[in-house]
Amino acid sequence: MALLEVQDLVIDIPTASGVLHAVSELSFSVDRGETLAIVGESGSGKSLTSLAIMDLLPRVAKRRAARLTFDGTDLLSMREPEMRKLRGSRMAMIFQEPMTSLNPAYTIGNQLMEALRCHEDVSAEKARARAIELLERVGIAGAERRLLQYPHQLSGGLRQRVMIAMALMCKPDLIIADEPTTALDVTIQAQILRLLHDLKKEFGMAMILVTHDLGVVARVADKVAVMYAGAIVERGPARAVFKAPSHPYTRGLLNCIPVPGRTAPGTPLGAIRGQLPNLIGRLEGCAFRDRCDFAAPECAGPMRYVPIDAGHDVRCIRAEARKAVA
C-alpha cells in the first residue's frame, strides 16, 4: 500500500468573476522511501496541491477528492485537532523561504524543541539532545551554541538547514518540500539537496519535492509529475520522463532551458508560444491546446491518460497519433 494516495483531487477557489479551478482531477501516490517531484511553472497549482495534502489551504480554497489517504488513514474526514497531531509529527513540511517560516522572536533551540514537545511527551533535556543531534546531522558545527541564536544571526543556507532539522525532529514518514532550495545560492543549493537526499535514505522517509527547476528534479526524483494549469499532464519514473518526454508541454519545457553540450551557444532556445489559460469558469478538454503544435479538434473534448510505458502516462489524446508519426 502506498504511503500517500491522492485520487481526483480538486481545488476550487471562488472569485468575483466565477470559480477558479486551481487544481483539477489530480491523482498520484507516494510509496515509503520514494521521492516524487511535482514540477510546474507559476500558476500550475503545484504549491496548492502540497498545501491541500497538509490541509493548510487558505480558507477560501475548497478541497475535494475521491480519496486522500495517508498510511491507510482517511485525511478527508479528519478533524483539525487530529490533523494537527499528524502535521509536524508524521508529515512535515519545508518551505521555500526559511526567513519567513522561522519565528524571528524565538531562538533556534526553542523552535526546534517545541517541534518535538508539541507532539511527544519528552523532557526538555531529551528534546535538547535530539535538537543538537539533528543540527549536527544536517552539518551545522557548534550545535550547542547555535541553539541559543536567533534566525537573523544565521545565513540563508544555515537557516534552511535548521528548517530541515526541525522537519526531522519527530522522524516523519513524509516530508513535503516546497522549493526548498530556490532562495539559495547555487553552490549552497547543491549541498542542501545532497543533504536532503542522504537524510531521506537514512531515515527511510518519503518526500514530495515541489519545484519549477527541471535540473533539480532530474537529479533527485524517483517519480515525476508534470503539472500544467492545475492538471498533471505527464507522470512516470524520472528516467522515463526525462529520456522520453511525451507530452508536448514537457518537451517544450525541456527545450526552453539551455543545456551545455546540447544547445549551441547563441542559437534561439525553444519557446512555448502563448500564455497560461484563464482557469476561471468551466474548463473542458486539454488546457494546453492553444499553445500546442499538435492540437486537433478532438483536444477540446474529454481528456484521458494514455500509457507510454510502464508507469509512464500522459494526459494527451494525441499521444498515440503523434507516436505513430514519429
Partner: protein, 324 residues
C-alpha cells in the same frame, strides 16, 4: 569611438555599516579593485552569488552610485558629476524583477517614453511614434499602449522594461538578472529576444547573472566575482571547458543539468555563505576553498595570465613556477 565600450580602472566601493547601537561602524568592501574592459558588440557576463558585489557594480556603471575610488569610462570618457547625464544616456538598465521595476500607476506608453522625457528628446508626437516602434521591436501589440503593468504577464512586463531601456538607443545595456524572476518558458522567450535585439541593433551587453547555463548560452566573455573581487576572467569557451579558479570549478559543479543519470554533485565548498564583513588579508575565497594552502590565509593571490584571460589563485602561481 574606441573599441572599448566600457572600462573600469581599479574601482573600489566601500560602505560604512552600523553594527548595532553600542558598537562602532565597520567598513564593508562591496567592490574591491575591479578592472575590466567590455568590448563593443560583445556580451560580457559577470557571474557571482549573493553578496559578491555584482549589483553594486551595476549601480556604479549606471551612475547611480559613485565609486569610492577608481575610474569608470564609457567610450573612453570618465563618468563624473559634470557629464553624468550625458554619458549615462548611452548606457541603460534592464532589472531583475519586472514586477517592481515598472511604476504600476503609469501606462505602458508613459513608461516607455519616460527616458525620452527625462532627457528632453523630441516632442509628444515623435515620442509616440518612437514608443510604437519600440513595442513592435520587442514583440508587444500596439493595443497595450494604454494598458497598465498590472494587466500584463511577467514576460510582457519584461518586454516593456526592454523597450524602455532601448528607446534611448543606448550602446550598452546592463542586464541585471533579467530572467531570474521569470518562469522557464518565459525566460527562453526573453533570452531569444535579447539575442535578436543585440544582432539587429549592434548592442553591447553587460550581463549579470547567477545562472551559469544562461551565461554559457549567451556570453562571449565571463568574469567570476567573489566577495567584491573578480577571481577569474576568461572567454566563454575557455571558462566552461577548463575553469582554473577553485571557486569557478565549484560553481560549474553546482549546475544541475536535467540529466536523470547523474546525482547531486558534491561541490566541496561547504554550506557557509561568503561573509563580506570577514574578508582577511589573504585570498577572500580561502575559508571555503577545498584546496587552500597556508599562504592563502596571509598573502593575496597574484594575477596569473592565461592564454584567454586571467585568474587569481596561489595554485596557478605554483603551477607556473613548477613548469618553468
Amino acid at each position: 569611438m574606441t573599441d572599448i565600450a566600457l572600462e573600469l580602472k581599479n574601482v573600489w566601493r566601500r560602505f560604512e555599516v552600523s553594527q548595532g547601537a553600542f558598537k562602532g561602524k565597520a567598513t564593508l568592501t562591496a567592490v574591491a579593485d575591479v578592472s575590466l574592459q567590455v568590448r563593443r558588440g560583445e556580451v560580457y557576463a559577470l557571474v557571482g552569488e549573493s553578496g559578491s558585489g555584482k549589483s553594486t557594480l551595476a549601480k556604479m556603471l549606471l551612475g547611480l552610485l559613485p565609486p569610492s575610488s577608481g575610474e569608470i569610462l564609457i567610450d573612453g570618457a570618465p563618468i563624473n558629476a559634470g557629464n553624468r547625464i550625458a554619458v549615462v544616456r548611452r548606457i541603460q538598465p534592464i532589472f531583475q524583477d519586472p514586477y517592481s521595476s515598472l511604476n504600476p500607476r503609469k501606462s505602458i506608453e508613459q513608461l516607455i517614453a519616460l527616458p525620452l522625457v527625462v532627457h528632453r528628446i523630441g516632442d509628444g508626437a515623435s515620442r509616440r511614434t518612437k514608443v510604437r516602434e519600440m513595442l513592435d521591436m520587442v514583440g508587444l501589440p500596439a493595443r497595450l499602449l494604454d494598458a497598465y503593468p498590472g494587466q500584463l504577464s511577467g514576460g510582457q512586463r519584461q518586454r516593456v522594461a526592454i523597450a524602455r531601456a532601448l528607446v534611448m538607443r543606448p550602446e550598452v545595456v546592463i542586464c541585471d538578472e533579467p530572467t531570474s524572476a521569470l518562469d522557464v518558458s518565459v525566460q527562453a522567450q526573453i533570452l531569444n529576444l535579447l539575442l535578436e535585439l543585440k544582432r539587429d541593433l549592434g548592442l553591447t551587453y553587460f550581463f549579470i547573472s547567477h545562472n551559469l547555463a544562461v551565461v554559457e548560452h549567451l556570453a562571449d566573455r565571463v568574469a567570476v566575482m567573489y566577495l567584491g573581487r573578480i577571481v577569474e576572467e576568461r572567454t566563454r569557451a575557455g571558462l566552461f571547458a577548463t575553469p582554473r579558479h577553485p571557486y569557478t570549478r565549484g560553481l560549474l559543479d553546482s549546475v544541475l543539468t536535467p540529466d536523470p543519470d547523474l546525482g547531486v554533485p558534491d561541490t566541496h565548498l561547504g554550506i557557509m555563505n561568503a561573509n563580506p564583513m570577514a574578508v582577511q588579508n589573504g585570498c577572500p575565497f580561502q575559508p571555503r576553498c577545498p584546496s587552500a594552502m597556508d599562504i592563502c590565509a596571509t598573502q593575496p593571490p597574484p594575477v596569473t595570465a592565461l592564454p584567454d584571460g586571467w585568474a587569481t589563485c596561489h595554485l596557478l602561481q605554483e603551477e607556473a613556477l613548477a613548469s618553468q
